[in-house]
Structure formats: C-alpha cells, structure tokens
Symmetry: C2
Subunit: 364 residues, 2 copies
Amino acid sequence: MATNPILHPQARQHAHGEFSHEELALANRNCGTLLETLQHDITPTGAHYLLNHFDVPAVDNAQNWSLTLDGHFTEPVTVSLAELHAMPVTTKTVTLECAGNGRRHVSPRWPSQPWGVEAVGTAQWTGTPLRNLLLHAGIRDTCREIVFHGIDRGVDGGQVHNFARSLTPEDALHEEILLAWKMNGIDLPPQHGYPLRLVVPGWYGMASVKWLSHIEAIDYCFDGYQQTKTYVYRQSPDDSGTPVTHMRVKSLLVPPGIPDWSSRKRLVEPGLVTLQGRAWSGAGVPITRVEVGLDGTWQDATVDQCDNPYHWCNWHFDWQASIGQHLLSCRATDANGHTQPLQAPWDTAGFGNNSVHAVEVWCA
Amino acid sequence: MATNPILHPQARQHAHGEFSHEELALANRNCGTLLETLQHDITPTGAHYLLNHFDVPAVDNAQNWSLTLDGHFTEPVTVSLAELHAMPVTTKTVTLECAGNGRRHVSPRWPSQPWGVEAVGTAQWTGTPLRNLLLHAGIRDTCREIVFHGIDRGVDGGQVHNFARSLTPEDALHEEILLAWKMNGIDLPPQHGYPLRLVVPGWYGMASVKWLSHIEAIDYCFDGYQQTKTYVYRQSPDDSGTPVTHMRVKSLLVPPGIPDWSSRKRLVEPGLVTLQGRAWSGAGVPITRVEVGLDGTWQDATVDQCDNPYHWCNWHFDWQASIGQHLLSCRATDANGHTQPLQAPWDTAGFGNNSVHAVEVWCA
C-alpha cells in the first residue's frame, strides 16, 4: 500500500522560477487584497486578505458556541457568546498582515503560500478586551504561556492539529487585544472567524486566532505546530531561530493609472499623477517618513497624521509622469528608526519580507 | 525608447507545466471560492469568486450615479439610483461561474486567469428586472444588440477599453435578468459592482457587467474586446469561433475530511463519510442526475429537488471509506441530457472546461 503522503510527507525543498500547482492553488484560495482598495481607510469587507490554513468551519448554531478558559487560571470559566456580548464593547481599527507577505520575492523560494505584497487589510473589529476576561479568570503565577485554540483542524508537516497559537501572559494582557465578533459592523464572516476570534494589533496575522473556542493557561512553553514548526525566523531549516511576532515596518503604493489585464503593468498619461498609498508598523509607534522612489531616486512623500499606530496611515505624492517606462517604489520609516530594506531580508521560509513595493508604470 | 509592452504586447503562447509570475499574480488577485463553503446554499459574502479584469472603481458618491439608456431606443432616458430603487424590486438566488473555470486543467494551457474549479458562487441579488426598463425605453426595430458598459477601464491585447458586453434584444429581455444593487441583503460590495450591476442568470459571469453606467442600443454587432477577442470558443487562435454564452452543466464535491495545508489532499477516517456537493446548469433546466465516482466506479448520488434552475442544487452520497488512497469525483447531467465530460473539452483559450471535479482523499 502506498505511503500516506499527508501523514508522512516528503521534506519540502526550496524552489526557483515558476510556481507549482500546489503554490498556485494556495494563491487562489488565500487571496490577497485588491491594491486599489488601499484608497479606502477600511478595506471593503470581502476584499481583506485571507489566510486560512485549514477549512473554514461551518458554524450553524452560534448560540451554542462557548469560550472555555482553563488550565492555570485561579477561576476557570466557560462563557457563552451572549455573555461575551454583554461585556464592555469596543471597536478598534486594526491593520493585519500575513507573516508570509512577500514570500515569493525571497529567493530561493520556500514553497508555501506564495504571497506577493497583497496579504494585508484594515478592518474595524468590534468585541471586548481580552485583558478583562483574563484578569477575571486570574492567571496563576505558574502560568508561562496562554494558548488560544481554534476549531479549524488539518495537517501540516505530517501533524494533525487544530490551529493554535500562544502568547506570554504579559503579551496577552496587552490592552489592545480583542475578543472580536464583528468586522466592519457586521457579524464576522465565516472565513474571518465566525463567531469569535482574537485580534492582536501589531502582530502578524497568525496571532489573531480565528474560530476561537478555548483559552488554556499552561505552565510550559507551547510547542504546537503553528508556534514552533512554522512562524519562526530561520536562516536555514536546522536553525532554532527566533519567533515571528510584530509586523515589520511596511508600505504599499496604490498602482496608478489603469492596468494591463494579464501583466498588471500600469498605464498612465503624461503629466500630474497623484500617487497614494499606506504605511504601517507593528511596533505600536507611528510612521515618521515615507519616501517615494522614482526610477531609483528617493523623495519624501506627505504622510497624513495617524491617530492610532495600530492601523495604517495614508501618504501621497505628486508625480510628474513623463513618456516611457518607470519603476515606482515606496519606503517607510517608523518612530523607532526602522526603515524598509530595498532587498528582501533572507529567511529560509520566506517570513517577514518587508522590502519595498515596486510597481512598473508605462507613461504614454 | 523601449516599446510599450502594454500597448504593443507580444503575442501570448500556450504554456505547459509550472505557472508564471503573471499567472500566479492573477490567481491571487481574483480568488476562487472556498470549496468547503459549498455546504451553504448561499456562498458567504466575501467568499464568492472574484473576476475583475481591471481595477475596482472607487465610487464615493453613489447618489450621483446614473444609468443612461441611449442609442436605438424610442425614448432614451437617464435614471438615477434612487429612481431605480423605486422600481419594482425582486430578489433572485443565482449561481454564477467564470467562463474560464477549469482553464488550468486544459492542456496546453492558455496563460490567463489560471482557474482550478473554484470560480463559482451563489448569491441573493436584489434589484429590478432589466426587462421593464428596456420596454419603457422602447427598443427600436433597428436595434441589433444592446451593449452594457461598465466604468472599469484597462488594457488587454493592446486595446484600451472599458469592460463592456452585449446581448441581443431577445436575450436582454429575458425576465430573469436583473439590474442589481444588493448582494445577500447588503449594498453590493465594491468588488462585486457597487453601486449597480447586471446579473444574467444562466450565463457565464462575463455577461453580468459590473459598475454599470450605460446601456446602449446599437444597430450593428458589438465588436468590443470582451465580446469578440475573448469569451469566444476557438479550436485555434485563428478560428473565428463561437461566442461563450450559457454555463455548461457542472458539479462540485465538497472535499471531505480535513486538509493537508500545502497539498490540499484530504484525510478521512475509515467508515461512513457523507459526501456533499452542488450541481448546476446554465441552460435554465434542472439537474436530473449526479453520479459520484469512487476510484473510477460511478454510482448515483441523491439530488435534492431544486426549485429554481438558475441556482445550484444540493446532492449527497454516503461513502464507506476504506484505508488507503482514493480519487473521488462527481458528474452531473441536466434535463437536456447534457453530462459533464471526464476530460477537459479542448478550447484554445481554456474556456468552458466543465470536466469532472476530482479530489484526492487518503483514508487512515
């Protein structure tokens, strides 16, 4: 009998050049945002990027949903959705980005979700602060990490598991973290975590566990697949590495003009073209500078003041387009002095590529 | 000065094997539906497939939107959105599929949107019947076709144009066609045509023009790019071909069990597995039969009666899964006697591939 390739997978190898059927299928399933929608402060519902490792669970009886807090809590508790909805409610505008954004521009390429630059979105999340619930349950001194378990289940690297991620108690108590049940004013769409999810502002998206059913306080370091096998910065596959956490400073340019259907190159007319885009940092500090690269020459753009460092800010720049071929880029700097690199930083699995966005534009 | 590749593109060639960056980018931008959501009669908003040739227009002042009917009408008219909303309103459940669905399984492959099987969705569209407005404007005897113009603009094959498609007066007067402004009870999302679109039940999705602003009755056959250069069945690039119109009979299987992250192969436990899926035909007739293929042996599934032939029906089948590797398929037949083929029908641009859906499942 043939070896089960799901439970006993072959080791993956880095790839070069064109993309496999598997990569293509992942790209089509987990869609990127539509860059033109970056004109909007809030990504239109349904145009936000999606990264679902496994299947979207079908939750038909949300009234039966419960969230259990157990393990090293002084007062373990199980709460219903109705009880959560009755807690203090707040709405936060948060920009989320996938840790693998930019992976397909890291060479050699790790054959996983082959993101370009589109794995980002901004939404208004409504829910209750996680902090209150954790304090109410009482985190014991013996607790080393708090694990957030989703109900979505599948296989990776031969391991069958539910998607789960952990945070230290200190990180989990951050006042910005939400238990959310609405996105842009409506119930969470199924594919965004219905009926309950975590939203961890400032962190790459894997921390924002969807279809959340169980919060477990443990007295050891969580070694789940999504915590230790992936989402770790490594120089090589054998490297013990460092965990992927906060989003690296990043910016995007709304492609100007009109697109060519197949190549997505852009066509503009000569003269004034107002470039616009977004910039963000996961460090919880403001963006202090955005520069636009015009065929290799960098000039400062105007950055709109951003009231909250947990969602992107807007920038714009007036460009005088001249006939011919151009390469437009943008590069952000945050208040910690971190600037985007021009080249993708090496990571063996393609995480954290916050190198500059470049758009090919033809003026005619 | 370099030749502008957008206005003077090189001729595209068929491809084999792995996928180009361009194909990958298109796959990530125009996302497929999530097959597990076929459990739902209505595809969750945001999980419906997307095919936008150009950019999603940003429409900030919808109250200024107007729909103009001109050309060979006896009473040309321009109506506002408010006037349209005041017309008789109806809601229709419609299954739409992209004409290029299945393209990447047609060999050799035409390098365009490389769909697998996921370019389908079912939504509840709310609007007013197009027929009433056309009769009110009065189609002149001199009218040969009615052109539907969107405001989305871009380039394909070197031609700059707005997306536009035509129908004959007879087809345009079909009572099922809607001018729609709501999707699943909410305003059309921007990426689905806000604030106004056409919905043409039974036809592949290109007929359902989004961001609709202008309906033009003409006295000749429309030769727009999206009418004559593409969306035509051709045996070879030089073939004059026949227009792509109604959806060919098709079915899909909800992949059972749990997925492997990277390969999307499925893992099930031994024993009873209830298979479920959807089937539809664009001919406006019911589905009469769905067969499930179990490792090459076909057996009849149970097809739920479908009250309306313009949206998919549900089918199910009880499978006794045994240890090992399996290939599961499904095949639909409609009331006109059309059955899905086992192999992709040849088309040089990969249109109309309604061959059977196959899913690799491992039982352990």
